[in-house]
């Protein structure tokens, strides 16, 4: 079986569900979310079958590959999408509030189906080795994400988020295409794996235009992953977009961006004149992203915005891993960090969604006394915060541990020193949430009800955080 069938299956599932939504007459659209996640789960299981990539030499092989990176991140994206789809039923009250209600349940259906197309686009993005293919997949994913982030049409914050995302995203896509044009103009190929050979044939004078093209692509990718100084869209978009969409952006879109960055760097590693400069830039990016993300998160009082800045901070740690690509363990470390990041970020967004709905806002002060109103939610959030901060026995710690290890191995002492300081900063702003939940008194004493779907999500994600934290071996092995 060819790997391309996985993405086609996802798109097919999306189309089938759209048709079902149009023609099946039911006002309760939850079944779409459950069907969608069930379908994706089947596709996830299919991805474990022995599948071959495109046959070498076939026309597909110029665009798509099926190596360990794409297999790992395809499953990663499928799992993320499943969890985001399962968040959707809990988000219905917010949708009902902010969508013009021609009929009951209007707009809920599409909200649960559009992520499938984003998933397909991102899956293509992580499997592709050709710039044009990456661009097309990127557009599929990003445009759908524009729609999703501005979904709450009667909420100004959501509209602002979507507009900002659209304008800045379009700008970054423009950079991406311009960069591709320069590279194609200089080397004559848009295939990433063919770049080293093409570059080796170039005369000296062509290196500068080549570097310009690579720099433009780097700018665009930095926008995607939320690295400083292209991170300014992140807090605003995360704060305004619907919570499941913020979660999706934070995890999946970042992962795809990093995979493209990794592919580019892995290809250019063998070209010393380019690689040296590239790694210097990445190291610098990592350092400033770490500093900015962590320091900017300290004064935040809105949890969604704080999670946005925290995602910038985590992009910094990931970039530290990318800067250490010379080590064999760098890619397993990055993959492990992403797996940890998936579990802990999605868990915090799930709890945030439930609490924001119950208390009417997503400031940190809304979490006051949560440990008394719902020990389950407070405990889950505490676990997520502990993992984000880097407490041992959680996934976040092993992720940071591996990243620090490969960084030290490659001699990035400055980055590691910055990392130590920023971890301390992280302790403060993540524990601010713990303080609110455990030290402060709640404004109301009523218990917060938690639906069965959310309970299952909390159980699975919480178990994932602890499992990865105690036994990270399988994930590291998958990427070696």
């Amino acid at each position: 079986m060819n790997t391309i069938f996985l993405e086609f299956a996802v798109v097919g599932l999306g189309i089938v569900l759209l048709l079902a939504e149009a023609f099946v007459d039911r006002t309760n659209k939850d079944y779409l979310a459950y069907l969608g996640s069930a379908g994706l789960f089947v596709i996830l299981l299919l991805s474990f079958l022995p599948i071959q990539g495109p046959a070498p030499g076939s026309s597909d092989a110029a665009f798509i590959t099926s190596d360990i990176l794409s297999v790992f991140f395809t499953r990663f994206l499928l799992i993320t999408t499943i969890i985001v789809l399962l968040m959707a039923p809990g988000f219905k009250p917010v949708l009902a509030r902010y969508l013009p209600a021609e009929r009951e349940g209007a707009g809920v259906g599409e909200f649960t189906i559009l992520p499938l197309f984003v998933c397909a686009g991102l899956m293509w993005m992580v499997s592709s080795i050709d710039f044009i293919m990456i661009f097309v997949a990127l557009e599929l994913a990003t445009i759908t994400l524009y729609v999703l982030s501005t979904y709450l049409r009667q909420n100004n914050a959501s509209l602002e988020a979507g507009t900002k995302f659209l304008i800045l995203g379009a700008l970054s896509t423009g950079f991406f295409v311009y960069g591709i044009t320069w590279i194609f103009g200089v080397t004559g190929t848009t295939n990433i794996t063919a770049l080293p050979h093409a570059i080796s044939l170039l005369p000296e004078s062509s290196i500068l235009p080549l570097l310009l093209g690579i720099a433009l692509i780097l700018v665009s990718l930095s926008f995607k992953i939320g690295a400083f100084p292209f991170q300014f869209w992140v807090p605003d978009v995360y704060q305004g977009a619907p919570t499941p969409v913020s979660a999706y952006l934070s995890v999946a879109s970042k992962a795809a961006g990093f995979v493209v960055l990794l592919r580019l760097l892995l290809a250019l590693e063998t070209v010393p004149v380019v690689a040296h400069k590239l790694y210097a830039v990445i190291t610098l990016l990592a350092g400033v992203t770490l500093i900015f993300g962590n320091l900017a998160a300290i004064p935040q009082t809105n949890l969604k915005r704080l999670l946005g800045y925290s995602s910038v901070a985590h992009a910094g740690y990931l970039l530290m891993g990318v800067a250490s690509l010379g080590s064999l363990m760098a890619i397993p470390a990055i993959g492990l960090y992403f797996a940890a990041y998936l579990a802990m970020t999605l868990l915090s967004f799930v709890v945030l969604m439930v609490v924001a709905e119950a208390t009417g806002g997503d400031e940190i002060s809304r979490f006051n006394g949560l440990s008394q109103r719902s020990p389950l939610l407070a405990g889950a959030m505490l676990l997520a915060m502990a993992s984000l901060a880097g407490i041992p026995f959680t996934a976040g710690f092993v992720g940071k541990f591996m990243i620090f290890e490969v960084a030290l191995k490659q001699g990035h002492f400055g980055l590691v020193a910055i990392g130590c300081v920023t971890v301390a900063a992280g302790f403060y702003y993540y524990f601010k949430v713990a303080r609110a939940m455990y030290w402060q008194q709640p404004t109301e004493e009523t218990a917060i009800p938690v639906s069965m779907t959310v309970r299952i999500l909390i159980a699975v994600l919480g178990a994932g955080i602890l499992a990865i934290g105690i036994y990270p071996g399988p994930i590291l092995a998958a990427l070696r």
């Binding site: 041992p392 541990f401 290890e405 130590c420 301390a424 303080r435 071996g473 590291l476």
Partner: protein, 483 residues
């Protein structure tokens, strides 16, 4: 089932039971009692002739990186485990009645206990670090919710300072790991010891500095000590007992296990630095303690001060000095836990710990006063308590140290003078609280309850046994001689 794994799992299992609704106090006390019995049994059954690591068991976690959950204990570990289980049981026993969220209170205490027991029973440096960090969040919650005084600031300071220090320590440990030749990289203490004994492994000195700062901050080494006194003073009594009595000893344990065998040259090279820092502990913090006007702050600062003696024992790099330091770890743990326990009892009765407000309560609480006298005298280093034995060994070790020099002489003089200083503030505390004229409002105080009395006696009796017969502890800690 490995007995050490059982020691770690019992508090965690108890926490789980409490989470699903078991009676918090009884479940916690049950688990702590089982742990105490188990650790006494292990202590007694340790084969002193065979020596080395016993009760070993291993689970593979990341074998490629050399990270495995290996559990094992030698004499030093078993002494520390005995200390941990004694203080845990005493702390849980003396814990006051909690009206709200009792479950969370006991879960936090049990997690601290599990973390410290895990740290002392593991042979893998990675898990040594990880188990210690298990105590960070429970401390944050305990001090913030049930603490006294300026508890929020104290909790923040302790959490962030300790978090930062622990990452510095982590970087040091990773650097140590990476400085091994790439084929044999491991986090296993046994293999690190073998490499050190073979004389082929010479890690860089800057790694030692990272470890010293990291472990040192965890032990409140001057000048990285400022998180400790507020944290201990503002923490609820059982948390203060566990922290100052047991958790603090983890850093010293780490130094003994990792730095002493692997960095002998670096320790010699930087011995003056260490000696200056520990003089800061003894002298500077000693005088700061004398200036304190509240009992909880006095005991908090005094526990920071006494760390100087243990560091002196380590810095001397002599067998006697290190054994004295280990004995002092055991002794100090018990004495400071007893002191905080009694301090908590006083606070519960009077609501204040200010010397200016208290006075003469020994008339109405004689047993409390007597027990506090014992704890105070132990802390000062009165012969008959294990603290004296430890301090004497430390002084001898330092004086006959091979790196004898002006710094070491100064350290010994300061150390002996420190005994006088600690006598000043302890006797003053004792007098201000218990002797003198009694204010009218204290005349109706009740004496110590039997529960609290016996929890403190549980700590003081081993202290006196070790004081009159320190050999039984020294035999155990002596098993680290080859390293």
């Amino acid at each position: 089932m490995s007995p050490l794994l059982l020691l770690i799992l019992l508090p965690l299992a108890a926490s789980l039971l409490i989470m699903v609704g078991a009676n918090p106090r009884r479940t916690a006390l049950g688990a702590a009692l089982l742990n105490l019995v188990l650790s006494v049994l292990l202590f007694a059954r340790y084969d002193l002739h065979a020596g080395g690591w016993q009760f070993v068991s291993e689970w593979h976690v990341l074998p490629n990186l050399g990270i495995n959950l290996s559990l094992g204990a030698d004499g030093l570990s078993l002494t520390m485990l005995l200390l941990s289980t004694l203080v845990t049981f005493s702390a849980l026993w003396i814990a006051p009645r909690i009206e709200k969220r009792e479950g969370l209170y006991y879960i936090c205490l049990l997690f601290i206990s599990a973390g410290v027991i895990g740290a002392f029973s593991t042979l893998d440096v990675f898990f040594l670090y990880s188990f210690h960090e298990l105590a960070l969040i429970p401390t944050f919650i305990l001090i913030g919710v049930w603490g006294s005084g300026d508890r929020q600031a104290a909790a923040w300071k302790a959490t962030i300072y300790l978090g930062a220090a622990s990452f510095v320590l982590l970087v040091g440990l990773i650097a140590l790991y990476l400085s091994l030749p790439s084929g044999i990289r491991t986090f296993d203490l046994r293999q690190l010891d073998q490499l050190a004994a073979a004389g082929t492994f010479h890690p860089a000195s800057w790694i030692y500095l990272l470890l010293l700062v990291g472990f040192g901050t965890l032990v409140s080494l001057f000048p990285f000590h400022s998180w400790a006194p507020p944290a201990y003073a503002c923490a609820p009594t059982p948390a203060a007992m566990l922290h100052s009595g047991v958790l603090k000893k983890f850093g010293l344990y780490g130094l003994i296990r990792i730095c002493l065998p692997l960095f002998p040259e670096a320790m010699q090279q930087f011995s003056v630095l260490l000696v200056l820092m520990l003089i800061g502990n003894i002298l500077y913090i000693g005088y700061v303690t004398v200036a304190q006007k509240r009992l909880d702050w006095t005991i908090g600062y005094s526990s920071v001060m006494h760390m100087g003696y243990i560091f002196l024992g380590l810095a001397s790099l002599t067998v006697i000095g290190v054994h004295g330091a280990a004995l002092l770890m055991f002794a100090h743990g018990l004495s400071v836990a007893a002191a905080f326990a009694l301090c908590g009892e006083i606070r519960r009765r009077t609501g204040t710990l200010d010397y200016s407000e208290l006075g003469g309560i020994g008339k109405v609480t004689p047993v409390l006063g007597l027990l506090f006298g014992f704890a105070a005298m132990a802390s000062v280093g009165l012969p008959g308590f294990a603290n004296f034995a430890g301090e004497i060994l430390v002084f001898f070790g330092a004086t006959f140290s091979s790196i004898y020099g002006p710094a070491m002489i100064l350290a010994v003089i300061v150390g002996v003078w420190g005994v006088v200083v600690s006598a000043i503030y302890m006797l003053r505390a004792y007098r201000s609280v218990f002797w003198g004229p009694i204010a009218a409002r204290w005349e109706t105080l009740t004496d110590i309850t039997p529960t609290a009395k016996w929890s403190v006696i549980l700590l003081l009796v081993p202290l006196m046994i070790a004081g009159f017969y320190p050999q039984f502890i020294l035999n155990m800690v002596g098993t680290i001689i080859p390293r």
